[in-house]
């Protein structure tokens, strides 16, 4: 799974492509309707200990860490996000 990681590990300013959404049923459909689905591009605006504000197609969403962990991304612009270390343990 090289190159894939949860969205919550990305640092501000990073752009990435959604690879997989680990949710099902209603939540998955809600995310899709909001524009968060495999192959959509997301940009992280700010992050605070894993909680994020992101933009998807010009719309801004806030996600808690729990939600951001369900979204797997790849193809990010920054190779080694700063938050990767340290956050993993928690």
């Amino acid at each position: 799974m090289t190159g894939t990681m949860p969205l919550s590990f990305l640092s501000p300013g990073t752009e990435a492509t959604v690879v997989d959404v680990r949710a099902d049923g209603g939540l998955l459909r809600r995310l899709v309707a909001m524009g968060i689905y495999s192959s959509s591009r997301v940009t992280v605006v700010c992050s605070d200990r894993g909680s994020l504000i992101i933009t998807v197609a010009g719309t801004r969403y806030a996600l808690s860490k729990g939600m951001a962990m369900k979204i797997l991304v790849g193809g990010y612009t920054h190779e080694t996000p700063e938050q990767l270390t340290g956050e993993r343990a928690s």
Partner: protein, 667 residues
């Protein structure tokens, strides 16, 4: 002969749908509830040429699946009520994200008109949407609108009427590719075996919903002769893949269309980035929020003061007229003066406070800040077992618990919402303030401000502690992870915020008004009879009740007068002050009451402290209870809320009565 048609407004949240609705219908509106659920239903009327048009504002949704109550309501309305036209309100500044809903509306096969709202802002930002090619590709007429300035509404109505009168309609559907299309047509054929079902729900739409694993759609099959066959067709192992493929396909269509209708739509917006980075900053977020709230409360009390004085003077004048004995018979004068003006007046006087606080909150909400505040507080809230969204109702609860409990409707998870409702009465609303001001002013003169502040904090602490306790015991589970759109920052317009304030505040007047009036009359009756007793004396029914209740309150050091006041405070907590006034023979005048309370040997600082804590926490007022019943739909939880509140209040007051003397003795 006038013709009547029905238009429904559909759209994502934050696209200015309500603004369009208000601009169309003006004051000809009606607010009610959708049948069976407590989602607000707004409808209104507008005349256009020969047409009398009913406009229904559907809840803002991202899609028409069945994830939340809002979505079910919106799509059931379109399917069951079959409006003549659906106007799809779209945010032109953020065009792309709206199109997913467009595809779903198209699949429903209703006549559609698209309103490209906030077009002025989009044009200013350099976004050009080619309406002609939009019409060509989607076969939907597109109208440019600016809701805040009521631009384009005439054309919108003309187009809507035209669509309503045109038949048959082009149905422009998305093709899902050969494999999926084969499954769809198989399902459509199977559904066709039940003509009643097929007449009620567009078969292709129902087939698509079923393929996407929509349980609500599956429920529509129950009892149908086609059910078994359809379910057998759905019983394939690759259903999950099909669902994903269909969502992908919709986005493919959108992605393919977008560059042809809007060359500038694929872009980055950065103006809000910096503000968001500061406002939601890990260290600054909470201090900024607290500072704003502190400012809001300061402003509320400063601005409300002259209004309150004016209302007070008005009621004083009326009471004076009645007291002078001009009204015959005397009992009627007493009912009007002591009962209605004394009881209802003490509630009306807090309207300025409530409305100003709701106005400031509306400003914060309309500017886009409140969504950020919910996000900032999410981590804190999550730790105590609540979602960030329940923070906004808690905030509104500091003004009045009634609109606060209604504001919990945006919380999707049932348990999350129930906990948020149950802890809300502990947030000290405006009605409790006069009790605190009176008692703290008398018994804690120099430290009155600190004491009141402490009581507010205690209320919040009890709310948090209760949420934690409920999560550990009766309502286990984890709060739903936070996912919320952060609307772009906008300068709120006065008209929108005032309307917003009115929507919330008028509910308070309507719902509380009737109940409090009834309650006030009951109090007056109990205090006046049996016939001939002195008003509010120990011999009145109120006095008898007080003596009956006194043994219960004796451990807290409350005498019969306090017991009566607390009983009446159930109607509205500010009545505690008025009742004490009556029972101590001081009327509503606070100076005399203060002297009377100080002279009472059984009433000291410790009793006052315990009483304030008790008033803060004991059962919700009758208006809040009515809303709790309505929103939870359950007597069990309503009664639980009463029982729990009294228990907590009693225990804490008991602790204070036993511990405070020790602490005071030490000092």
């Amino acid at each position: 002969m006038k013709k009547t048609i029905r238009i429904a407004l559909a759209g994502n949240p934050n696209v200015g749908k309500s603004t369009i609705f208000n601009a169309l219908t003006g004051s000809r509106q009606h607010v009610g509830n959708w049948p069976g659920v407590t989602v607000e239903k707004k409808s209104g009327w507008v005349k256009y040429q020969d047409y009398e048009i009913e406009v229904v504002d559907l809840p803002g949704t991202y899609s028409l699946t069945a994830y939340s109550v809002d979505e079910v309501v919106a799509r059931d309305y379109i399917i069951d009520e079959k409006p003549d036209v659906v106007i799809h309100v779209v945010d032109a500044t953020n065009f792309e994200r709206n199109l997913y809903l467009t595809t779903q509306l198209m699949e429903l096969g209703v006549p559609l008109v698209m309103a490209l709202n906030m077009s002025d802002m989009a044009e200013k930002a350099g976004t050009a949407i080619n309406r002609a090619s939009m019409k060509k590709f989607f076969e939907i007429p597109v109208v440019r609108t600016v809701g805040s300035r009521a631009e384009g509404l005439e054309e919108l109505l003309r187009t809507a009427v035209q669509e309503a009168e045109t038949s048959p309609h082009h149905e422009h559907a998305i093709g899902y590719g050969d494999a999926i299309e084969r499954t769809i047509s198989g399902l459509v054929t199977a559904l066709g075996n039940d003509p009643a079902l097929a007449a009620r729900y567009p078969p292709r739409w129902l087939a698509i919903r079923l393929l996407e694993g929509d349980d609500n759609a599956k429920g529509k099959l129950s009892g149908s002769p086609a059910q078994a066959h359809v379910l057998a067709l759905l019983n394939t192992p690759d259903l999950a893949e099909t669902e994903a493929a269909m969502a992908d396909r919709r986005y493919e269509v959108i992605a393919a269309l977008l560059p042809q209708v809007c060359t500038t739509c694929v872009k980055e917006m950065n103006s809000s980035d910096l503000i968001d980075r500061v406002i939601t900053n890990r260290y600054l977020g909470i201090p900024i929020f607290l500072a704003l709230m502190w400012g809001a409360f300061q402003l509320t009390f400063a601005v409300a003061a002259p209004f309150m004085a004016a209302i007070d003077a008005l009621f004083g004048y009326c009471a004076g007229l009645l007291a002078s004995g001009t009204v015959e018979p005397a009992w009627l004068g007493s009912l009007l003066g002591d009962g209605i003006i004394g009881g209802v007046g003490s509630v009306i006087i807090f309207l300025p406070n409530i409305f100003i606080l709701l106005f400031i909150l509306s400003l914060l909400e309309d500017s886009g800040y409140l969504a950020r505040a919910a996000f900032v507080m999410d981590r804190l809230m999550y730790a105590i077992g609540l979602p960030g969204k329940s923070f906004i109702p808690m905030l509104i609860g500091l003004g009045c618990n009634v609109p606060a409990i209604m504001a919990t409707r945006t919380i999707e998870d049932k348990n999350d919402r129930l906990i948020t409702i149950l802890i809300n009465p502990f947030m000290s609303c405006g009605a409790r303030l006069p009790v605190f001001v009176l008692l703290a002013g008398i018994f804690f003169t120099a430290d009155a401000g600190t004491m009141v502040f402490f009581l507010y904090l205690l209320g919040i602490a009890v709310a948090i502690g209760s949420a934690w306790l409920f999560r550990k015991t009766i309502l286990p589970g984890k709060p739903a992870p936070f996912l919320m759109e952060m609307p772009p920052y906008r300068l709120p317009t006065l008209a929108t915020s005032v309307r917003h304030m009115w929507d919330r505040g008028s509910m308070y007047i309507r719902k509380a008004g009737g109940i409090i009036l009834t309650g006030a009359v009951i109090v007056w009756f109990l205090a006046s009879f049996p016939y001939g007793v002195e008003y509010g004396s120990a011999e009145s029914y109120a006095g008898m009740l007080g003596h009956l209740l006194q043994p219960i309150f004796a451990p807290l050091g409350f005498d019969w007068k306090i017991a009566v006041a607390l009983l009446f405070g159930f109607i509205a907590k500010e009545i505690v002050v008025g009742s004490l006034g009556i029972l101590y023979g001081a009327g509503e005048d606070e100076g005399t009451l203060a002297a009377a309370l100080l002279a009472d040997p059984s009433f000291g600082p410790v009793t006052a402290f315990a009483l304030m804590v008790f008033v803060l926490l004991y059962m919700p007022c009758i208006a809040a209870l009515a809303v709790i019943k309505k929103e939870t739909g359950s007597w069990k939880w309503t009664l639980f809320s009463v029982g729990y509140g009294i228990t907590v209040a009693y225990i804490l007051a008991l602790i204070i009565v036993h511990i405070a003397p020790v602490i005071i003795g030490r000092i």
